[in-house]
Subunit: 126 residues, 2 copies
């Protein structure tokens, strides 16, 4: 990864497809990823890993069971951490740009294999 | 830490003093902190830990020796990671609001003890 400042919105704008996170930076054992999202992403959980969402543009809804605190919606400049083990999904009714921070080993659809699953190699590629 | 979305700019606005980072979230073994900065922060390094800077408002300059890539300046929405071991300082000529991501054990002035050093307990307090 280049040793230059990264403009998160530009990195989002360059993404060719929705729901395909791309790694833009690494800090310690965490990747910073960006994604463009619209519509709904499958429910999943990450057994041992928290996942941070930062909204850059649009509005992201993170679904959780009521027992886990229920859904939250994020606007630009807002951050939310989904705790490890919490089953969640993400959805957006307008095109939404997000940054994610998660452990380098985290699979973005958890242990669920879905048509939307992207390998880490795909997420690292230009 | 509350299980609610965090508005990073609001968290900055609530900070009572400059150069006093406050922890607003934790993701895995990393803290997300916010700080208001103006002027110059002492040179230091973190031996084993990377440090991510995200600018929310203003303009942050991160000084590095030419051999380490030289200085970089960040505008809102831009991210930069200072690699572990790289001696750096931060400065701003206008009041600048930033988010930082660093390992929970990272001391914000590295091993340097300066009048600006804040303990992690201070950074965790309301």
């Amino acid at each position: 990864m280049a040793d230059l400042p990264i403009t998160l919105a530009d990195a989002c704008a360059a993404l060719p497809e929705l729901w395909s996170p791309r790694v833009v930076a690494r800090v310690n054992d965490q990747y910073v990823k960006v994604a463009r999202v619209l519509g709904e992403f499958p429910w999943h959980a990450h057994a041992g890993e928290d996942e941070l969402f930062l909204v850059l543009k649009g509005c992201l809804t993170i679904g959780r069971a009521e027992a886990d605190g229920g859904p939250v919606s994020l606007l630009p400049g807002q951050v939310f951490v989904v705790r490890r083990g919490v089953r969640h999904n993400t959805s957006a009714t307008v095109e939404t740009w997000i940054a994610l921070i998660e452990t380098v080993t985290t699979k973005h659809t958890g242990e669920e294999l879905t048509p939307m699953t992207r390998s880490i190699e795909e997420q690292l590629s230009q």
